[in-house]
Amino acid sequence: MTVADERLARTGAARRLLVRPELGAMVGAVAVFAFFASQSATFRSIEGVANWLDPASTLGIMAVAIALLMIGGEFDLSAGVLTGTTGLITVILATRYGLSVWTAMLVSLAAALLVGFLNGLIVVRTGLPSFIVTLGTFLMLQGVNLGVTKALTGTVQVGGLRGAEGYEGARAVLAGTFPAGGTDFRVAVLWWLGVTALATWVLMRTRAGNRIFAVGGDARAARAAGVPAERTKIALFMTTAVAAWLVGSILALRFTSVQANSGIGQEFVYIIAAVIGGCLLTGGYGSAIGAAIGAVIFGMADKGIVFAGWDADWFTFFLGAMLLLATLANRLVRRYAEEVRR
């Protein structure tokens, strides 16, 4: 039975929409699409869509994981370089040590889980800001990637994955294409949609989701309510590491080689996409769908600038402007929503 409070009538559908954290990103995505679609016919064609969804998908997988972590109140600056580390481990093991691609991927998954676990453990045990802790792991991994790659191969790149056992199968699953609407889309798009759907379900409809919001909103109060805050945070760091492994594997299989410096600089892009998607830097608020949409904005801007025939150097300018606009829009929306509620 549902007896409505008569004052609930004031909570209209418009307001309910306004309090969604992803609203700002949604409006931004529509505006960016409309802008580039008006500039370039290729951009709005199905081939164009497949083209800009490709960078959006690998970025999106990471942005969604980072969004969960940020809602849980932490950052991970080592996530970008970890995509490189996992790719390097997979390729080195499969090409130099004769492991099958699948086995090599299992080993790199274990390494990623270990990095995520250590990140989380150090953060919850020392109470240091995760920004500093993961900046440390970021720099250490960057050094390891270069040092180990050079020691083993004499260059800063490992390749030749194409000849490894199990390559074709793994490529079909993670880096293949599928036809839709008369063109070929990357399989990574499906992974990205799957990850977004799973993350949204966990956040909104499971105990774990309630706990993620709680530890990010106020870890002390969460602990007082019986939430295992330490375990929740460590699990979030490990989830981010698994996402980095997934993206690292997708990229390694697609290019069949990995640069020792790959992934560096991406960590901030993930955070930017999550913030455009409505995540608060202070934690406790945000959405996985928003982060996925933030990644779409990136993909559209990345390819749209090229389609429109502009100099790609302007990409970062565009990015910065989007970030500022989205953050301001999110703040205004939140303030408005909370004012009306009083």
Binding site: L8, T11, T206, R207, R211, F213, D218, G284, E338, R341
Partner: protein
């Protein structure tokens, strides 16, 4: 979505049915014969004491909480109120004295342990997450679930419904259970915290200064919900430094000063004026009134 496995048992209650009469039911009247005199008190401490290093925080304090009664603990800052709640709520074990639950000796390893035995403590800061909705906060740490294994999920529909019913049956007037906790007023937040403790089966409710940060009207609202909890048969321990909030609702008053008991009084044994005067340290207050009184000449002739 109708399964109910894994859901904590609702507290037995004799309150008004959901959707029944709203707020304003409560009358703080000690003479209605609520207490069952024969049964042992829900919770009792006998001559408990606690020292921290060289500081005696509490010495020889005794009190009890009975079913359907409110025991008020009054004292100025530093009187030992916080130490006493920490002992009652299971955070500290007493160094001396006895702790009895239903007449049997009890010892808790943690506040969680005490909570599992029906002793719920609502602290001043409430342990609520401001950005989360009312229903998410209400069930935080004890979410009702549906399904099994990897498909086990938070029963959101049930959580929303239970919170709405629970708040309404307590006469708590929240517009929308989806609104963030942080948008509620201080009194509303206290009320939700009390409703949460009642829902999760608390038998003894310990409230730490629930009215101290509130305006007169808000404080009145919170006192009504305390009376609601009492009328449902809970024993309530109300910690406060405000005798005007304590007197109308209390059945028993424990006065603390500098870590020791100044005495425990039944409602019949003390007037509001005596309570106020005792709390402020009686003679001290008179001297102060004297000092501040500019119009009259100083002298011992004060009535």
């Amino acid at each position: 979505m109708t399964g109910t496995d894994g859901v904590p048992a609702d507290a037995a209650r004799g309150g008004p049915p959901p959707g029944g009469p709203g707020p304003g039911i409560v009358e703080a009247d000690p003479g209605t014969g609520r207490a069952a005199e024969a049964a042992p008190p829900l919770l009792e401490v006998r001559a408990v004491g606690k020292t921290f290093g060289g500081v005696i925080a509490l010495r020889d304090v005794s009190t009890r909480v009975c079913r359907g009664e409110v025991t008020c603990v009054l004292g100025d800052n530093g009187a030992g109120k916080s130490t006493l709640i920490k002992i009652l709520s299971g955070m500290h074990a007493p160094d001396s004295g006895e702790y009895l639950l239903d007449g049997a000796p009890a010892a808790f390893t943690s506040p969680r342990d005490a909570m599992d035995q029906g002793i719920a403590t609502v602290y001043q800061d409430l342990a609520m997450i401001p950005l989360m909705s009312v229903w998410r906060n209400f069930f935080l740490g004890s979410e009702p679930v549906l399904g099994r294994g990897p498909f086990r999920r938070f029963d959101v529909a049930r959580a929303r419904r239970v919170v709405r019913e629970e708040l309404r049956s307590m006469g708590i007037d929240i517009r929308d259970v989806d609104q963030p906790m942080g948008t509620l007023s201080g009194g509303e937040r206290q009320s939700v915290a009390i409703a949460r403790a009642v829902h999760f089966g608390a038998r003894v409710l310990i409230l730490d200064e629930p009215t101290s940060a509130l305006g007169v009207k808000q404080a009145g609202v919170v006192l009504r919900y305390i009376a609601q909890a009492r009328d449902r048969g809970l024993g309530v321990v109300l910690i406060t430094h405000n005798p005007h909030h304590a007197y109308p609702i209390g059945d028993r008053f424990l006065l603390l000063n500098r870590g020791t008991s100044l005495g425990e009084y039944g409602k019949a044994g003390i007037t509001r004026e005596e309570l106020t005067s005792l709390m402020a340290g009686g003679a001290e207050l008179e001297r102060l009134a004297h000092e501040l009184d500019r119009g009259e000449p100083p002298g011992p002739a004060y009535p």
